[in-house]
């Protein structure tokens, strides 16, 4: 978010506008101009001019002249448009709701985009304490259960090609998890699964594989450790895999 002139000005100012949008990520974010300046690293005059333009165009809104900014109308519209025009999401939606109701855990539809995974939609559980996945987040395949489930489903050559492009390499434990996932068609990360990646929750993910054999995404569930049990884990694995298979057969 520097002010260095790396690209032509028309592009640079749009990048800065997007930087300003990215300042608004908290669920209740209402930011003053000063806070936008602090979060974006832009100069005040630039931030003012861009924020005013964005507010005028409906991407941001302002609580009154000189007031705080919030995300505007258009940011409400875009996610709905993206979801409703995404074929995989539309095919998966009924199954997503069904499996969410069966296991009462938040189920996330994660779509594969090359070497990345993106959280596209979710069905929330009824639990008061829950891991809230960030929608639209883009992660490399090896950074999360959904991507690891995809990675485990790739043939050896494709998986090697992926790892060659990364800074990381799979350790023995991850190799074992992947081998288990390949065999069972569902990947499970226990809270203590990987040293250095300790997490207070377990994750289960099942790959979405089309009838033509393309691996297009995964369904994923995160279970906080406080309600984690072998029985719940087994139920999640069973239903997630069945649901992913049902979706895949229609793709």
């Amino acid at each position: 978010m520097s002010d260095a002139p790396a690209t032509p000005q028309t592009v640079r100012v749009v990048e800065r506008a997007i930087d300003i949008l990215h300042c608004f990520q908290g669920p209740q974010d209402s930011l003053t101009l000063q806070q936008i300046v602090e979060r974006s690293g832009l100069q005040k005059a630039t931030a003012f001019r861009i924020a005013t333009t964005l507010a005028h165009a409906g991407i941001l809104s302002q609580s009154g002249p000189g007031g705080a900014y919030m995300l505007g109308y258009l940011t409400l519209r875009m996610p709905n448009l993206i979801r409703s025009s995404n074929e995989l999401r539309n095919t998966a939606w009924a199954n997503l709701k069904e499996v969410g109701a069966l296991i009462n855990e938040t189920v996330v539809l994660v779509i594969r985009d090359g070497d990345d995974m993106i959280n596209v939609d979710k069905v929330d559980s009824l639990h008061l304490i829950d891991e809230m996945p960030v929608m639209g987040e883009r992660r490399k395949l090896h950074l999360g259960a959904a991507g690891l489930a995809v990675l485990a489903s790739l043939d050896a050559e494709a998986a090697s090609a992926y790892w060659r492009g990364q800074d990381a390499t799979p350790d023995a434990e991850l190799e074992a998890i992947s081998a288990d996932a390949k065999q069972r068609g569902v990947l499970t990360l226990h809270p203590s699964a990987a040293p250095g990646r300790m997490r207070p929750y377990a994750q289960v993910a099942a790959p979405l594989i089309t009838s033509a054999g393309r691996i297009v995404g995964a369904l994923s569930v995160t279970i906080p450790e406080n309600r984690l049990s072998a029985k719940l884990l087994a139920r999640c694995e069973l239903h997630l895999k069945a649901s992913a298979d049902a979706i895949g057969s229609r793709l």
């Binding site: 003053t32 002249p65 000189g66 996610p79 929608m135 639209g136």
Partner: protein, 273 residues
């Protein structure tokens, strides 16, 4: 909002670090206009189509598209000249997406309206050529009007949409009707511009609009505009329910309740409640 407290930011800061103001603002506006081109009916566009629709040179368009694609706000279908909205927008979906003054001011009024009518109350705003439902309070009846946040229909459709259209100046209404294909997209949505104009005149004259059997058979709605003191329509409030229960008598009873709600909204917004 307390006047004075936020006054300093109303003045444009003096420091400048960008060259030509108009040029820069235009680029940001174009970015928004490009993204707003996409709709359910038009999920994908080529760079040439985008350039033509926005009215800017192809070279400028391609530069903007590259920036938006790089930042995940647009996505390209492989190497093809075909752009869609990118997944980067999804991250904004979880945040509050309404100006605090409209939604906050409307929330208690909507709850009161629902309690008075026991029918579903919907808050909608205009986004481009669409009416978008941005909040709702549901009826307590099990059989009720349902909606969801973000649900959208063209402006000329439904009581809320027609009420939003009635809030626009005549030339904007005429331009909308000229560029919009009027086809029946529900049970009996209007296809005749004359009928839409007649409804607009009725809405402006009486300050509310009643509709039955339009988007779906057996549905009924009453809408009022939510205006600020300048007279600008900020949104609409609609009470909707099944026709057998939300009958003529119930609808007539709802009219003064909605009109009062709109007045209270105006007062609350102006007094920053």
């Amino acid at each position: 909002m307390a006047p004075g407290l936020d006054q300093p930011e109303m003045r444009e800061p003096q420091t400048r670090d960008l060259g030509d103001d108009r040029y820069n603002v235009e680029a940001v506006e174009r970015f928004v206009r490009i993204c707003a081109l996409f709709s359910t009916e038009r999920p994908a566009l080529s760079s040439r189509e985008i350039a033509e629709l926005i009215g800017i040179p192809l070279r400028t368009t391609i530069k903007l598209l590259a920036t938006l694609t790089e930042r995940d706000l647009l996505a390209r279908d492989g190497q093809a000249d075909c752009y869609r909205l990118g997944f980067g927008w999804l991250r904004f979906g979880a945040a509050p997406r309404m100006p605090i003054d409209i939604r906050r001011a409307a929330a208690p009024i909507m709850r009161a309206l629902r309690d008075q009518t026991n029918e579903t109350v919907i808050l909608a705003v205009r986004i481009g050529d669409m009416r978008v439902n941005v909040d709702y309070v549901e009826s307590r009846h099990t059989l009720r009007r349902v909606t969801h946040r973000g649900s959208e229909t063209p402006l000329h459709v439904g009581a809320g949409g027609r009420t939003l259209l009635a809030g626009l100046p005549d030339d904007e209404v005429a331009a909308y009707l000229a560029r919009t294909k009027l086809v029946n997209i529900g049970y009996n949505t209007p296809t005749d511009p004359e009928r839409i104009w007649a409804d607009i005149h009725i809405t402006r004259a009486q300050g509310y609009f009643i509709l039955t059997n339009e988007i779906s058979e057996g549905g009924a709605s009453v809408s009022v505009p939510l205006k600020d003191y300048s007279g600008e329509t900020l949104g609409t409030l609609t009470v909707g329910g099944p026709l057998f229960r939300f009958d003529d008598k119930a609808r007539q009873e709802a009219v003064p309740l909605l009109m009062n709600a709109a007045s209270k909204f105006l007062y609350d917004v102006e007094h920053d409640r």
